[in-house]
Point group: C5
Amino acid sequence: MKIAKVLGTVVSTQKTESLQGTKFLLVQRLDHQGQLLPEYDVAADCVGAGVDEWVLVSQGSAARQFRGYEQRPLDALIIAIIDTVSVSEGLVYTKRDGY
Amino acid sequence: MKIAKVLGTVVSTQKTESLQGTKFLLVQRLDHQGQLLPEYDVAADCVGAGVDEWVLVSQGSAARQFRGYEQRPLDALIIAIIDTVSVSEGLVYTKRDGY
Amino acid sequence: MKIAKVLGTVVSTQKTESLQGTKFLLVQRLDHQGQLLPEYDVAADCVGAGVDEWVLVSQGSAARQFRGYEQRPLDALIIAIIDTVSVSEGLVYTKRDGY
Amino acid sequence: MKIAKVLGTVVSTQKTESLQGTKFLLVQRLDHQGQLLPEYDVAADCVGAGVDEWVLVSQGSAARQFRGYEQRPLDALIIAIIDTVSVSEGLVYTKRDGY
Amino acid sequence: MKIAKVLGTVVSTQKTESLQGTKFLLVQRLDHQGQLLPEYDVAADCVGAGVDEWVLVSQGSAARQFRGYEQRPLDALIIAIIDTVSVSEGLVYTKRDGY
């Protein structure tokens, strides 16, 4: 999985029928030290993530391992809202303080 | 998923039998701010996208999650025509105005 | 899918049993304007592509979506020989003229 | 698979239900000579890896090939703790000595 | 598939149970002209490849398309030992002469 920060939303009315009701978030990738990377994903959200939150994004067929999503043409899914990222030197991120 | 802009079409008569009737579009990737990237995909289209429209492209096995496409050797599919991309600072793109 | 040009062949006698009879072609990727990229694939061929032809290459599990290939350990397949690539400004490639 | 070094942990309380009890480790990739690369993964751990250990990380659908993980939305899994990496010139790494 | 050269071995005793008996080789990628690339894979071997041999490596779910490997968490597999790589200008590689 990759760490990413929620930037905003992507809206589409003309899409495959199976995607009705899918919420698409625009997320920007972060490196392991919390720096923004020049990479993004448009990911389906199933955990209710909000703008500026740090999330875990799964790619590929993992994006369909969610009840009701098995046959949606998705290749990226937000699977978790991150509370903390910690390494031996200390905390990289904690949700309480933001970053 | 990635954001991309439709550039044109790819036509082939000599292809696997299962691909009969599949429409292939040439799309160029955009970054999260709408700038063209030096990356493209040839993606199957199932939403009727037109040249210059912004679309969402799914890659990998997601490209076969469409009725009748389950056994086609596809690794990229246009799953939606984008209406808007918006971030906290405002709209990145809206279909009405183009870009 | 990616656009690629057939460069040559890769031959192997010592391979998994399921690969008996599989033809491997060496293909070099092209960008969306037809320029050679420093990327290649060794792809199984199921459409009879020849050297210098432009082809569509599918990657990942798509490479096994061909009758009899379902259980071969393949991650790249030539799925089509390209006739034309066209964008709004005109033809990028047509098979008749070569490039 | 890729060689990686365990850096720390990622904790999340708000996640898909299927991920309850999954331990997420932050790992940084190493090249084939043991140098740190600017790439990381957040991977599920099923072998009890600890900080600073070298591990093998599998990506994609391989991350769900573990008893009980078949339907979790995971795309990276630590599948082994490395004892030694050796090439013809000698040992690149041995767990006993660290690196 | 990618062309790679076998560099050495990776040994692990602490791994998922399904991986018992799997041989892991360290391979370095080659480009289409036989030059070493700064990319490697740790791949399972099912063809008995030896150090310095050129091999074909399959990635992703293809790595599990081998009898008995269907449920192992593998994302890279050596599927063939290469005899020759040839392009229209001549041989890039032949196993007899090495490179």
